[in-house]
Symmetry: C2
Subunit: 173 residues, 2 copies
């Protein structure tokens, strides 16, 4: 199963794709960030986020998309932009009929480190180990996107819907 | 100038288009609501909002779009969905190169009633009067969308950008 994780944000939207299944080694497919300028208008930024995510979906062709669930308790100054970037990621995936799952930051941390309160460094260390990378992916938003993808592969909560979706798409994987 | 107002929401997204200019009578172009089911998945709902707004933009052909600015202090339970619906409205407008403006609820109330703390009934009454309607537009989300459009026409803050945009589009209005 190939999962694309999205750590939403307007200034930096982390994107990471991982291939794997529960109980088997994981492999890195792609990792990066879509950036938009803080001095640009909101509309221009959202169009940029959409274009970046569309390009990634074209290139990576994931079986599912995992997006971080945004809470209003987050940083108040940036939470609206974060929610809007997340909404666009969900929109882009849903338009293609891809299954979309939302995972909370603590679910993601718990999945990759065993602790829902792990810090960024601990998450980065585990991502590096699990994907057998030479160094920690940077920036943190990119590492978080990979953690989301791994969380989704391991949680398996969406297995049923994924299986259905893959059957519909006629894939044998 | 023709302005389309958007009162964003996932369950009910109010849409209203008004034609007019500062100092001249206003006229109603269209008013309505795009609805999505609370039992549907987020992705399905966002795709539905996008399709509804796109249809409206095709039909109404506004010169500008005015969207309510969402704050994180709003109803915490629904604010994320509201922010995402607003983001999609901004995205749809920006993709077409239309000028987009965000107005706060108090700016809108002040524009149409003279008071930033007016209640919904007062806003509805003024919309009915200003557009010379036989009765108050319903639901309140639809009336709020019309108030946003009128606010935008009257505030004129975006006049310069609008004039530029209309010149680019070769319109003489």
């Amino acid at each position: 199963m190939r999962v694309m994780g999205v750590d939403p944000g307007l200034t930096r939207c982390g994107l990471g794709a991982v291939e794997g299944r529960p109980g088997a080694p994981l492999s890195l497919v792609a990792v990066g960030v879509v950036r938009t300028g803080a001095d640009e208008e909101l509309g221009t930024r959202l169009v940029g986020i959409e274009a970046g995510i569309e390009q990634w979906l074209d290139d990576v062709r994931p079986d599912a998309v995992a997006v971080e669930r945004v809470f209003s308790q987050h940083n108040v100054r940036t939470v609206m932009g974060t929610a809007q970037a997340a909404g666009i990621a969900v929109l882009c995936a849903a338009r293609r009929g891809l299954p979309v799952a939302l995972h909370t930051p603590s679910e993601v941390k718990a999945a990759v480190t065993g602790s829902g309160t792990a810090d960024k460094k601990q998450v980065g260390t585990m991502i590096t180990r699990l994907l057998r990378l030479a160094e920690m992916p940077k920036p943190a938003d990119a590492a978080d996107a990979l953690a989301l993808a791994i969380c989704h592969i391991w949680r398996g909560g969406a297995q049923h819907r994924l299986a259905e979706a893959m059957a519909r798409a006629g894939k044998g994987r």
